[in-house]
Every structure is written in structure tokens, then in C-alpha cells.
Amino acid sequence: MLLSDLLLTATRGITVNKSRSLLTTLGIIIGVGAVVLMVSMGRSFQNYILTQIESVGTNTIDIFPKGFQNVGGNLDSLTLDDYTEVKKLSTVESVAPVIIIPKTVKYGREEASPSVFGTLPQIFSNYGLKISRGRLLETADDTGSKQVAVIGDKAAEDLFGSRDPLGERITIGESSFTVIGLLEKQGSALLSQLDNMVFVPFTTAKIATGQKHLSYMTLKAIGNPQLAKEDITALLRSRHNIKNPENDTDKDDFIARSAEQVTGIVNSVTAGLTIFLSLVAGISLLVGGIGIMNIMLVSVTERTREIGLRKAVGARKQDILLQFLLEAVSLTMFGGAVGILGGLGVGWLLSRIASNVLGDFSFSVSIPSILLAVGMAMGTGLIFGIYPAKRASELSPMEALRYE
């Protein structure tokens, strides 16, 4: 039997009962579509988050006192002297110390609760923040402990609504500040926290709060951020008298976290999530496969006489086996193709919606996921088609012909 005959016979077997074939493949369509959608969306999200992190810079390192994250930890462990020494390291490009002022911000009767950072001008380049109108903080603002503030887009909107904030006076706690600059709005939802901020000079914040320790410091590394992190860790351990040759971070009174580390976490979290969701989608593929097997068994029973006839006119076992196997595989491959297109279509649509909500979200088609889906569709057809096909091929011609 020629391959073309086999294909033609299988196609006829499927098209003779179109609506049933379509309903049968629905499970495969949903399964494959879900796998493609999950993997593609997982990748898209991963790319989105990584792009956002990269826009801030993967060579940024933040150093927190331990109490910043761990309840009961020391909040006073980072000092201004630590900052001065860290700044001297050859692997560190620029450092900004930060004192957070935990006060509400007022403008007239309007009240808002943005994060208020007392810091140095370096923070703007470290975080990739750009000025929209007015000017950024300058070194002179710090040395003169000026009562000036640069505010983010969200903070400006909360306090001033549609009014121009430049030159207006706001109150932080008890002190009064003049708004000298308005920052550009961040493009994405992930970084929107940066929009809800007020920056004031470091020394001004230090005086206002009376705080001697740093809330945290943020810095940019030169070259490999991992090396800079090692340098800083070694420096701070020696400054804080922490003997920690086994490099156990639990013993430290500070936490150094690089953006690179965050990238790693994002990668493993999204990968884990993608695998989990794909498994769930895979289960629906399994259910779809069982549906195919069920219908193929019904089809074999229904066409017992046809099988008998084919054998009577000379079909061999393998001709019948291949015919029914090919029918099952064709069904799943068709379902796979529709599923892939559907999955990609829905993914594209979702990413358009995400783009509106999150900003700059691009849909990333995962080629391996498509290959995987094709493989799974074909595999499902083969695995769940083999039993009915084998049953068909082993029918004795006479018994099959006699079947009522």
C-alpha cells in the first residue's frame, strides 16, 4: 500500500464524519493551545520583568541593614562612615546613601504618603531617573542642607492634581520644602513605585530626622557586580567586626543584594511557574488524548465491516494498523495546528491588553514550545491511537465481515 493511499484513506476516514472529528480534536486543541499560551506568556512576562530590571541596570547593588527585612534585625548597622569607605572601593562607581523620612507629605489641604528619600544626586543615575521639568538635586543642595525637593509623577499628581508643582512649597513632617524638579513618569507598572517618591538632600534629611545610621545605600558597580558585592561584603564585615570565614550571610548584620541576583530569582520563578502551568495544560492534553482513543475505538467498532472488507480484498495487518494510526495522528496533528494558532492568537491578544496595563509588554513566541506542542500532539496520537489501531488490525476478516 502506497503512502499516498494511506494518507488518502486516513483523510477520508476523518472527513466522512466532520463534526465528530472536530469535537474529538477539541481536547487536543485546548491542550496544545494551553501549553503554547502558557509557555509563550511565561516567556513574555520573564522578558518584560528582565527588561525592566535592565533599564535600572543589572550592575546596581543595594545594601540594607539586616533589620530592613528581618524582624528583630538591627536597623542601625549601616553608618555614614560605611558609606564613605564603600565609596572608596575600586569596584564601585557611584554610591548614594539613603535616609528614609517616614512622614506624610502635605500641600495645603492635600495629603499624600509617598516614600521620602534623603539622598545624594547619584541616586538618579543609579535608578535611571530622568528630570521632566525643573532640575535634579545637586551637590550644593546637600552641602547647604537646602529645603528643596524633587518629586515623582504620582506624588505630584496626588498633591497638586493638575497644578504646576514647580516652585510650590510642600510640608514633610514639620519642615517645609520647595519643589524644584518633577521627574519623568516611569513607563512600566513594575517601576511605578519610583513615581510615588519625593527626593530631598541627604544632609537636610539627616538633620530633620536626627538619624545617624543609613536606611540603606544604593550603588553602581564597575565591571562584574559579583566582584563588587564580594568587596563590599568583605569591607563591611571587617568594619563591623564580623568574623565570617564560612561566608554565612545569616551572620552578617547587613544584606547586599544585586540586581543580577533579582534577575536570577525572576528567571527561576517564571521558569517554575511556566513548568507548573504547562503541566496543568499537559493534563488537559492527556484528557484530550483519552478522548481520541475513545473515539477511535468507537470508530473501529463502527467500521468493523469495512475493516473486514479491506482485509477480504487484500489489506495486510500493517495496512489496517497504519490506516487507523494515521487517522489518530492526523486528528491530533490537526488539533495541534489549530491549538498552536489559537494559543498564539490568545497570547498575542493578552499581551496587547498587558501592554495597555503594564506598558511596553511585547509578546514573545516560544519556538521550543511550538515544537514541544507539535511533538506532544503527534505523541498523543501515536500513544492513544495504537491500541484502537492494533485492535482493528487483529480482527479476523471473516469475523469482521459478519459483524452486525
Binding site: 500500500m1 502506497l2 499516498s4 493511499d5 484513506t9 477520508r12 466522512v16 465491516r305 469495512e306 473486514g308 472488507l309 479491506r310 482485509k311 477480504a312 480484498v313 487484500g314 489489506a315 495486510r316 495487518k317 495496512d319 479476523s396 476478516p397 471473516m398 465481515l401
Partner: protein, 245 residues
């Protein structure tokens, strides 16, 4: 070319039993027969006599239990499934009482069906051969009709065309007129007779004497034994009349 003195079909001491849950039901007992090329043989007998079983064994649709079946001088005992399928594809063909046409399929496609399993006929020749077979049974105007659009008699003629298309050594017809009205039945028998006149060997299974009389030799089977084997129809008619009394 086969030696004409060698019978096309020869069975020696052939028996057949069915086994159901370990219980043996014998159907055919120690049969001996020879059928030569070009014969038109009717196998007759009441239902349950074993005539259909005999045809299925001779047509390689079923296996015998004991004895020898020699086809064109070759013993068939040791043939495996694939070899049997090849014989069914090339040397024998069937016309069934229930027509067994593929539903929702055209006359042409039905007649072409055996050719897709034929190992030597090139695919380019299939349509021409099928059209010739359809012409031989007088159904050319119905070539593109679906099988469901045909009358019973026409369906059976399609089945005959399908049996013809591979140019087999022998055509087996199992009660070919059983589902037909008498006029259609006569047309089908005439078609088979014409094939025999053209040199085809035909083995017909029937329980109707009228149908059997289109053949040139009648073998009567009763309770799994050959009761009579004759070409003398006058005697046969007398016997039948006698049996009816």
C-alpha cells in the same frame, strides 16, 4: 502459465471445527473436491450445512482445522498472514450477500478499493481498470454516484466490478442474490455467467436452486458432508421435486 491439468482448487480430507470457550463444534467433515480453472460451481445446501464456511476456507478468509488445501498446485497450510493477504489481493475476490460497499463513497472509489492493496498494479492504471470493470457490469453512467444512491441490484453489480478489477483467478460469490428482488437477481446472475463465459472461474454459494442452476456444476453440502456433486441438472431437478414431497 499454470498447467491446465492441475486443479485450481483441490481439497483433501478437509475438516473444520469452531472452538468456543473450549467447546468444539465440527462444521465440515473430511471433504474432498477438485475445481478446475474456468468452472462455474454452485455450492448448495440448507443454512447451517457448512457451505459458507467451505467458501470462506477456499477464499482464504478462514483457516481449516485438518486436511489439505492445495491452491494452484501449492499447499497452503504454512502460509502466514501476509501471504494470505497477498493471495486475497491478487488471486481471489468476493461478492457478498450484503454487498459490503463503503458508505459515502463513489462507485469508482469502491471499485478501485482492492487496487490500493494490490502489490503489482501501478497506481496510474487504477482508474482505467476500475472504469473498465464498471463498464463490464453496465454501470458506466453511475460511475460517480455514491453507493447509497444505488438500488440493491446496482450495488451488487458494483461489488462484482470490484471483484473483477484485480483480474483474479477465482471469484467467490456468497448468496449474491439473497438481498435482491428476482429481476435484479437475474441481472446479477447473468453478469456472473458472462464473466464465466469470458473465462473467469466462479464459485457461488446459494441455497436457491434457481440461482444455482446458472452454474455448470452443483455441489450439495449437508451437515458438513458432500451430499452430491453433479453437472447433470435433469437428475437434480427430479431429486429436488422428490425432496419437496
Amino acid at each position: 502459465m499454470a498447467d491446465p491439468s492441475v486443479p485450481l482448487i483441490e481439497i483433501q480430507d478437509l475438516s473444520k471445527s469452531y472452538f468456543n470457550d473450549g467447546v468444539e463444534t465440527p462444521v465440515l467433515f473430511h471433504l474432498n473436491l477438485k475445481i478446475h480453472k474456468g468452472e462455474f460451481v454452485a455450492i448448495m445446501g440448507p443454512s447451517g450445512s457448512g457451505k459458507s464456511t467451505l467458501m470462506q476456507i477456499l477464499g482464504f478468509l478462514d483457516a481449516h482445522t485438518n486436511g489439505e488445501y492445495i491452491f494452484q498446485g501449492e499447499p497452503t497450510q504454512a502460509l502466514d498472514d501476509d501471504a494470505l493477504a497477498r493471495i486475497r489481493a491478487t488471486r481471489v475476490s468476493f461478492v457478498f450477500q450484503a454487498f459490503n460497499l463503503l458508505p459515502r463513497t463513489t462507485v469508482l472509489q469502491n471499485v478501485m478499493l482492492p487496487l490500493i492493496y494490490h502489490p503489482t498494479i501501478p497506481s496510474g492504471e487504477r482508474q482505467k481498470r476500475a472504469e473498465r470493470a464498471i463498464e463490464l457490469v453496465g454501470l458506466t453512467p453511475r460511475t460517480d454516484y455514491l453507493s447509497s444512491q444505488l438500488s440493491g441490484g446496482q450495488k451488487q453489480r458494483v461489488a462484482i466490478a470490484r471483484a473483477l478489477v484485480t483480474n483474479p483467478d477465482v471469484i467467490f460469490a456468497d448468496e449474491p442474490t439473497g438481498n435482491l428482488d428476482s429481476a435484479s437477481g437475474v441481472a446479477v446472475m447473468q453478469a456472473l455467467k458472462k464473466l464465466n463465459d469470458d473465462g473467469h472461474t466462479i464459485i457461488l454459494v446459494t441455497h436457491e436452486l434457481g440461482t444455482a442452476q446458472h452454474a455448470k456444476r452443483i455441489i450439495r453440502i449437508k451437515d458438513g458432508h458432500v451430499e452430491s456433486d453433479t453437472s447433470d441438472f435433469t437428475r437434480l431437478n427430479t431429486e429436488s421435486a422428490h425432496n419437496l414431497k
